[in-house]
Amino acid sequence: MKNYKYDNLIVASSPHLVDSITTSKIMAMVIIALMPAFAVSIWVFGARAIFLTGICIIACVVFEYLFNKITKKPSTIGDFSAVVTGILVAFNVPVNFPYWMAIIGCFVAIIIAKQLFGGIGQNFVNPAITARVVLFLAFSTEMTSWPTPQRIFLATDAVTGATPLALFAKQNFDQLPSNTEMFLGTIGGCIGETSALALLIGGLFLLFKKIISPTIPVSFLGTMVVISLIAGIDPIFQICAGGAMIGAFFMATDYSTSPLTTNGKIIFGIGCGLITMVIRLFGNYPEGVSFSILFMNLIVPHIDNLSRRKLYGGGVKND
């Protein structure tokens, strides 16, 4: 039931109930959008990607259920948000990551980043990003030993090697994979972040279904391209490498941790891209997507305040 009479009005900022879409439907769409990347990860890294993702999903759902049970709140596992968090946590760790460490990551994501602050819609940082950063700081050896792609189903012993970004940071430019390999995802890295193509398909699906708006991904990746061009490095390599694609489409666009207005989203995206590139070019770590998104998450309330829309005919502060 579309109201054509008011079609020329620009409507933004939540909350507006416009159709029958629910949280569980949105989350189901996100899960569908993550499936291409999951398929590529199984092809590239073997069966352990399935087990690790499965364990993360189960751990997240169980933590969510137990927390709701203990605090006597209505159970929120039906909205699938814990499933999405579980998939994203698994996508953000290397495939040979120990299971128990991944479960600690799920605990951080669900209990600490999400439920302690009031559950879905109340979290001020993205749970999966928080889990990644905590795991990275807690178990940096395990988080940075990347198996090289096997492309053999049920590969048992993985060989570890540097990711393209680590090679880039060490200036081993001749060992870098080609941009085609980077785009397809047959490179070392975290489970779900290697294939730019698969993530792009999922991201475009979400854009097409209007689950996410293009503002944040475009300004995020656009800023990275601009800075790469200024610095004189290959922009395609930069946006295909590391967590840029999964971060821009799936984690920076989280509703409760991104600004409400379009202007705010542009500031948010540019900030993410800027911090990512600054860390990649000048920082100690080869990759900065997770830190940049976490940092921008923290200043979202201030961005919201700054980008507040003026009332029509207003201009005088209504106190």
């Binding site: 700081l137 178990f139 201030h302």
Partner: protein, 224 residues
Amino acid sequence: MTKLDLIKNGIIKENPVLVLLLGACPTLAVTTSAINGLGMGVSTMTVLICSNIVISLLKSVISPKVRIPCYIVVIAGFVTMVGFLLNAYVPDIYDSLGLFIPLIVVNCIILGRAEMFASKNSVLNSAADGIGMGLGFTLALFLMGAIREFLGAGTLFGFTITANIIKPMTIFALPPGGFFVFGCLVALINFISKGRAIKKTEMGCSNCPSAEACGKSEKGECNN
């Protein structure tokens, strides 16, 4: 209020670190291990008791207009003594605490108790208050240090407990782990005392750092 009440007050009900949230800087910086936390706590407690006694003795001599410099001189004197003692008898702790020993001078718990308590109360009561507050501070720091050392390095007082069984989480030895343990302990104290430790009406919504972004601060219904 008896002297025992004064001591008990400082340990739980008005714990300087976990309830009054004073002295967060040494709390977060030095508690990477249990022994560091204990060393810092005992040093601060010694200074606190001595400065409380001396300031209480001098309260009729010190002119109110120049009281803060006078308190600082007294506190700095005791901090210098404690620093020399640590350097002479426990050089290991002295080295690992480093700059934070001279910084006890500007610890807001000591100055706060001098201003709020010792300058208005009798010598014995001030000493009791110093013991209570010092014990509260020491316990909080020891607890934080022990938790961070256990989770971050798998050891306790340098003895290996779990380090060779499961891999310790290094994040607890880093600053984010400090904030994390600090937050959990504050929440725990608040849970145990059922919120009575912190008087919410005195805090008020308007004093909350996120009052502007909250939107409900005018109605004062943050909890709902």
